[in-house]
Amino acid sequence: MLKQNRNWSADPVLSVEHLTMRFGGLVAVDDLSFDVGRGDITALIGPNGAGKTTVFNCVTGFYKPTEGRIALRRDGSVTPEALAELTRSGRQYAEGDKGSIFLLERMADFKITEVAGVARTFQNIRLFGGMTVLENLLVAQHNELMRASGYTIGGLLGLPGYRRAAEAAKETAVEWLRRVNLLDRADDPAADLPYGAQRRLEIARALCTNPVLLCLDEPAAGLNPRESAELNTLLKYIRDDHGVSVLLIEHDMGVVMEISDHIIVLDYGKKISDGTAPEVRSDPKVIAAYLGVDDEEVEDVERDLEVKPAPTRAEGDAR
């Protein structure tokens, strides 16, 4: 089930270092550092309000972090010196023969998707509801098609180059629709789809941007067990057959424990655990802070570990 161990420290696709995000007086993310391994499925878990979505928004450029560095290595080996050099230079990214590095905290949100290759989905699904399923996937291939259409001029004149690109884009879209089992709904408006299908469509749409890193914000929320199982298969397929690294936020522990190569646990904006699924599952800090235990047990654990007291949660949270 697990791929090679500790892939994330050997070959990280994304390195988040000392990330801090403050909203006024509230510290949502506090000096957080973690790595996401290339070709891994990495889960970011933690109780409600732990700052997971904030981390996502920083990685995808929707928030500008107060402090910290978020480096994406697009391909191959990037030396730490190159990274330090880029950080000093003040540029947003460096593309070289040996590999490309992108400093996401310096880039605008759309640039992160367009240039660096990070795609995301949203906790509250954001589809183009009045557009068809197929159109949704074509919009995701905007930049590629824009170039092919000669920035509209060639497309207006109906040049063959654009027509070929449009056909190819449609094929890509159809391919993904087949994969997420939505091909028969291709011509329906996206808002008409049932909830689970909308989630799948959003993932397919993100993948149409051709990313190296896919960020999924609670992809299994609101799915029934069968749909969750399908999601697992889909995510594994994305990882194994397309080489896309996946970073996901999830509350459904069934999904998380089954598919994750690497789990990072957040609580109150801080990392409390980091490792493979079995490691995290047996980490007493995680049990205490996240999974919810009886008061007595917490006290026991605290005594054992001498950590600062962590609050218990309502049982429902742990699910």
């Binding site: 979505t53 928004n57 929707f62 928030y63 949203f122």
Partner: protein, 305 residues
């Protein structure tokens, strides 16, 4: 310095009138999130009603000025409020909860209708009214003959505005009607589940806005002495600009925006050129919005991802 002071007084007066109209925009926007484009026409209708009442009283032989003014204010407020209520009932209520551009279009349609209704019934020519309240307080009389004066009319306008503003702020913050209005602003469906009569609350909002506009219309009539069917559009656009400048949805913002627009216009006309005073007001609006996209006192919109 004297010139500056005089302009300041004139600006505050003009700003008060704008502010009173702007409150109507901002309250309606706050509660149903639409631009009530017909509000400027409501103001115009208010001034026409005030004029008709004035002439009617004169015809009846009632000329005791305080009484005349009192009757004018009351009748104008009531009748204009009836117009406000009717417009909401006819043009906006059927569209509530539907497509958001639809009420904007009916509002523009209503605005065109009202303008032409008044033009047809009262004629297109400008109606002059000789000044009724003359004289004023001389604040400063420098030796070179420049006088800084605040007229009684200006005092009435400013005092009236302050009184009405205070009263309406109290209504919004203290009474159960105000509480219902604020509840509808936050979440109309939930408010109705909790037993707030949403339709009635919205109607009352229109009634309140319209009656304030009626007061503004009457003041405009008495202060400038000329009205025509077209004043509503210009004053409406300015007042709406004021509401947006102050942060639409915020009552103090509307007043602040009104004052700002009034002052900008007066100072620009006083020091630069009368022709470009509108350009000045609109440019400042654009500049403010570029730096403060939610206006001066508006709640900043947080982008939820």
């Amino acid at each position: 310095m004297e010139y500056f002071l005089q302009q300041l007084i004139n600006g505050v007066t003009l700003g008060s009138i704008y502010g009173l109209i702007a409150i109507g925009y901002t309250m309606v926007y706050g509660i149903i999130g639409m631009i009530n484009f017909a509000h400027g026409e409501i103001f115009m209708i208010g001034s026409f009603i005030a004029l008709a009442v004035f002439l009617g009283l004169a015809a009846l032989g009632i000329t005791f000025l305080p009484l005349v003014l009192l009757i004018m204010v009351i009748v104008a407020m009531i009748c204009t409020a009836a117009w406000g209520w009717t417009i909401e009932r006819v043009a906006y209520r059927p569209l509530r909860g539907s497509f958001r551009l639809a009420p904007l279009i009916t509002a523009i349609g209503m605005s065109i209708f009202l303008q032409n209704f008044v033009q047809v019934t009262q004629g297109a020519r400008v109606k002059p009214l000789p000044p009724q309240i003359q004289g004023g307080l001389i604040l400063m009389d420098s030796h070179d003959g420049i006088v800084v004066q605040i007229s009684w009319m200006q005092i009435i306008i400013i005092v009236m505005t302050v009184v009405l503003m205070t009263a309406f702020s109290l209504i919004i913050s203290k009474t159960s009607l105000g509480r219902q209005q604020r509840a509808c602003e936050q979440d109309r469906k939930m408010a109705s589940l909790l037993g707030v009569n949403v339709d009635r609350t919205i109607s009352l909002t229109f009634v309140m806005g319209a009656s304030l506009a009626a007061v503004a219309g009457m003041m405009y009539l008495l202060y400038y002495g000329v009205i025509d069917f077209y004043i509503g559009f210009i004053a409406g656009v300015k007042a709406f600009t004021a509401a947006v400048l102050g942060g639409i949805g915020s009552l103090p913002g509307a007043m602040l925006g009104g004052l700002a627009i009034g002052l900008i216009e007066t100072f620009w006309s006083g020091y630069f050129s009368v022709e470009y005073k509108d350009v000045a007001a609109f440019s400042i609006l654009a500049i403010v919005l570029i730096f403060l996209p939610s206006g001066l006192l508006g709640r900043p919109e947080v982008e939820k991802v």
